[in-house]
Amino acid sequence: MADEPLVLGIETSCDETGVGIVRGTALLADAVASSVDEHARFGGVVPEVASRAHLEAMVPTIERALKEAGVTARDLDGIAVTAGPGLAGALLVGVSAAKAYAYALGKPLYGVNHLASHICVDQLEHGPLPEPTMALLVSGGHSSLLLAPDITSDVRPLGATIDDAAGEAFDKIARVLQLGFPGGPVIDRLAKEGDPTAINFPRGLTGSRDPAYDFSFSGLKTAVARWIEAKRNAGEEVPVRDVAASFQEAVVDVLTRKAIRACKDEGVDHLMIGGGVAANSRLRSLAQERCDDAGIILRVPRPKLCTDNGAMVAALGAEMVKRNRPASDWDLSADSSLPVTDPHVPGTSHDHDHEHGHGGHSHSHDHVHELSKDNLYS
């Protein structure tokens, strides 16, 4: 166990400043500072507010994670950081901190993919990922079905939302019902007291000619809003609990149906669900039911590991170290649209014989890539 890689991970792709520390597949620390309260009055994440909060929280959160893990920075075998996708300015704070941290410690740097990290985090809960793993990622920013034969090098997108992310739909419906932001937890809570079959809301992209693995939640959102409007116009009271339950049922029905179908089509007997919406209790229970029926083993991490956090980044970083994947260069970019097919951003300008704990990176790195990402600045 002691020779498993000890890695610190930094996550700043949205509104959570996360720093996690893992040893192999063991979670040692998961420190998170959230700016969600500052965004609540805007009804959504405001990028500049998030970036400012990341800058303030960054160093204290790193120090808190080290303390929580009971390890010293010198013992680390590597520093991992979310290189993308995410909000450009927010990512840049984490990437800059990770570089400075790795450089000052003489440790290798691993810029990793946020989505692959959401999948890899399950190793901290249920041990090494089966290969391949089918993953359903659902949050305010993403809704995707991914097939991962090797989480460090081979992640294949099967489908994704063509309009709103699932979590976005929760936020929007919560706004229509005047329940505040974020919408996921409150809708989950109210839905428990409602009837999921009360209203038959549409299931997007489930027709026989629709793409098998893509999602659409925009039509559902509009249908729910119209239904509420009709009630209000008729002077009737809106049955908030039934609306919440029926809306939620429409979302999780489609998500689980398509995920199970993907598992069957691809012959994969493990389904992993991650992302903030994976904290939804109905999604978890319906997925369990349908996986049991189909003979598929379901893996869903505890809610705190499903939302954005640094531990998931550390988990993928540790896997990169374990499998000897090349480290990233010092000119690593924050890439707001990093493709899901890039689990990490390997360096190219120097050899990568990073031995653990050596004081490397003292040789010159004056080769500068023309990999400018214009979207970093407005």
Binding site: L92, A100, R175, R232, S364
Partner: protein, 225 residues
Amino acid sequence: MLLLAVDTATPAVTVALHDGESVLAQSHQVDARRHGELLLPSVDRVLAEAGVKLEALTGIVVGVGPGPYTGLRVGLVTASTFASVLGIPVHGLCTLDGLAYAAGTAGIEGPFTVATDARRKEVYWARYEDPRTRVGEPAVDRPADIAEQVAGLPAVGQGARLYPEVFTDARDPEHQSAAALAALAAERLAAGGPFENADGVPPAPLYLRRPDAQVPKNYKVVTPQ
């Protein structure tokens, strides 16, 4: 004394190493869109050129702006992270003070103006009595609105070049230099300060503007309130 100075508050990504008496090495690149990519390789190059290990530093100096936010944060978080790992202090200096100090080295005695590009047709600016003495706090304004206050004064910085109709006597330096920032810090350290941040407190950025917090429009008005 061995100081590493960085400043990313302006289009320049600038790094310098200073031993309290002179600059040992420096790096200077002007690229407004690539602060994140350029800064760490620059630090690495400067240390290698001087043959100095990071562990030998006694302090970090950082320009705290004012500057457009995204780039500004790169220098600040890098400085704070270095300081945390190395257990050394970080000294924040106003970026405009660095430019003013460099103006002095270039032969300007004062009074004069420092102006940098704040984008959106505005400048970050301050007036200086002499290269070490700022008059008041830095501000962000449209050049036309401050024309009277800067009339007849020499002006340094890219902001002055951009608006010649207001800054009629634009002079060098055009860009921020970490070497000047480091020299100013060394001087202030010898004199016991002051810096933009108190000892032990991480320097805060000078944004001078509120975040562009667009309150999302109400959900398509399908629901009467």
